[in-house]
Amino acid sequence: MSNSTISVAEAPPGIEGAGFFATSLDNLVGLARANSLWPLPFATSCCGIEFMSTMASHYDIGRFGAERLSFSARQADVLMVMGTISKKMAPVVKQVYLQMAEPRWVLSVGACACSGGIFDTYSVLQGIDRIIPVDVYVPGCPPRPEQILDGFMQIQELAKKESTRRRNEPEYKALLASYGIE
């Protein structure tokens, strides 16, 4: 089991001493959040199958503490939109995003979800960032599980850096307001 090449999540920088460990709450919370991101797989098409690969034994998203899928939006931390989002589906995606509890991140997986991909058609939404704020885009059609993991780790980085107060700040509110979310 033990494999020295594994990079364990780094302890937050703090002052270490005998029985003394101080760090700012933000870092600790960020670290905890980053290692316990429960995804909500909004899988509609091909990318959903690659997400299954990501979950399966060969790639094992569980290594990042994310094998507990939350199909209930309330419990999820990362909304992973995988696959084409048509204009018919768009309100549903937005609804799911609204139902999620803060803090929430959005990972847009695959060409279709990011930009519409080859489906530059009357019925396909040209990128989900037209309806909800997206944190990380993963290119590919479908992306390899490696790329999905890359995207996931990018979300982890964001979670680590994020201040616990960010979600109350006016910038964040303004971002949501630009999408018509109060």
Binding site: S45, S86, S123, P142
Partner: protein, 411 residues
């Protein structure tokens, strides 16, 4: 429809004088999907339930409608291959090959035997991936996740073979009009041999976990059944029809790509229920392995593509040095191949049934009209009839055993 509207509408009360009718008082509606885990994110079913028993169901589809047929009217023939990838994405090579064969039929290209055998191998590998996912997801929906992960490892292995052949895992864009774009590499052959040797053990293990497990059998036997007559009336094809007892298999009835050379059985069920669908798919995987084995044993020597310079891209070196090849190259890429005016239909046995391509060509660079006959779209409409009177759990199991692939359903 009208009854459901009655139940949903608070302003219209139920007729209380009507006693013993199908709509007794405690009916409720349950919205299954589109974000429900069992509907794989794309289908919506509004179920009218009496307790946990389903009284009626109304489906909504089209949540990932992407206008394939419209796109196909604006793209040159060879670019449509990328569309077919995304139709039944669980078994993309079958779609690719089916489309290529359709166009070859229109253009009148004769494909050499080796290419045909290679196609058969890739198509049967695709069928394996399709059925692996369908059957193991059925097990997952009954609650047994682990078996899914055991067989999924082999699906990953098949992906590796795809990668050797075309460079992608899922949306393969494999092959060209007139054959394959490259020959089997030694690595690919080695991997296929390994698969033939080791997949049976994994399949046996999976079958051991669920196939004779009473919990699983109770969950699936006599659930979501459909009679052969109704199945035909609903236009079922593929494993779902065969489970009902009709041995309609395009590979056996209208052999294409040298399927007539191979020994294989067409498994049929007896009752048409979920367990039969499971068994038929399971048996088809064994038959696929048999076909691949035969094709590998008898793989003919020769060219892997047709000698059709008008339609098959020349080698890169020739393009650079040979004027004629360069002209063909430009014509093919610009889509200005000389397609005849005509109308063809070609169907292949896809993962879910008869996957047909109805191509109307007016001689232009794009199809005039391309209609995909998607088996999923056609048989999914029988779902309400199949689940009526069963419980919510049965509905979910039935849905996953039907293997409705959204990409195929909604195009």
């Amino acid at each position: 429809m009208s009854e459901i509207a009655l139940v949903n509408n608070p302003n219209v009360g139920l007729d209380k004088t009507q006693k013993g009718g199908p709509y007794v008082n405690e009916l409720s509606t349950l919205n299954l999907g589109p974000t429900h885990p069992a509907t794989h994110g794309i289908f919506q079913n509004i179920l009218t339930m009496d307790g946990e028993t389903i009284v009626d169901a109304e489906q909504t589809v089209g949540y990932i409608h992407r206008a394939f047929e419209k796109i196909a009217e604006r793209r040159p023939f060879y670019q449509i291959t990328t569309l077919t990838d995304r139709m039944n994405y669980c078994s993309a090579p079958i779609n690719n090959m089916g489309w290529h064969m359709t166009v070859e039929k229109l253009l009148g290209i004769e494909v050499p035997k080796r290419a045909q055998y290679m196609r058969v191998i890739m198509m049967e590998l695709a069928r394996l991936t399709d059925h692996i996912v369908c059957n193991s997801i059925l097990a997952v929906d009954t609650g047994a996740l682990t078996g899914f992960l055991y067989v999924y490892q082999w699906r990953e292995f098949i992906y590796e073979i795809y990668e050797e052949m075309c460079g992608a895992r899922l949306t393969t864009n494999m092959g060209r009009f007139g054959g394959m774009e490259r020959d089997f590499t030694p690595v690919a052959i080695e991997k296929i041999q390994k698969l033939l040797k080791e997949l049976p053990a994994a399949l046996k293990e999976f079958e051991g976990m669920v196939m004779r497990n009473r919990i699983f059998m109770d969950r699936t036997q006599n659930v979501g059944g459909i009679s052969a007559e109704r199945a035909l009336n609903y236009g079922f094809t593929g494993p779902n029809l065969r489970a009902a007892g009709v041995d309609y298999d395009v590979r056996a009835m209208n052999p294409y790509s040298s399927y007539e050379d191979f020994e294989f059985d067409v498994p049929v069920g007896t009752k048409g229920d979920t367990y039969d669908r499971f068994l038929v798919r399971e048996e088809e995987m064994w038959q696929s392995l048999r076909i691949i084995q035969q094709a590998m044993d008898n793989l003919p020597e020769g060219s892997y593509h047709a000698d059709a310079p008008h339609y098959y891209l020349p080698k890169k070196q020739d393009v650079y040095h040979n004027m004629e090849a360069l002209i063909y190259h430009f014509k093919i890429v610009m889509g200005e191949i000389d397609a005849p005016v005509g109308e063809v239909y070609h169907s292949v046995e896809g993962g879910n049934g008869e996957l047909g391509f109805h191509l109307v060509s007016d001689g232009g660079r794009t199809p005039y009209r391309l209609k995909f006959r998607r088996p999923g779209f056609i048989y999914y409409q029988a779902f309400p009839e199949m689940i009526k009177g069963t419980t919510l759990s049965d509905a979910i199991v039935t849905m996953s055993s039907m293997n409705v692939i959204a990409g195929e359903l909604d195009t």
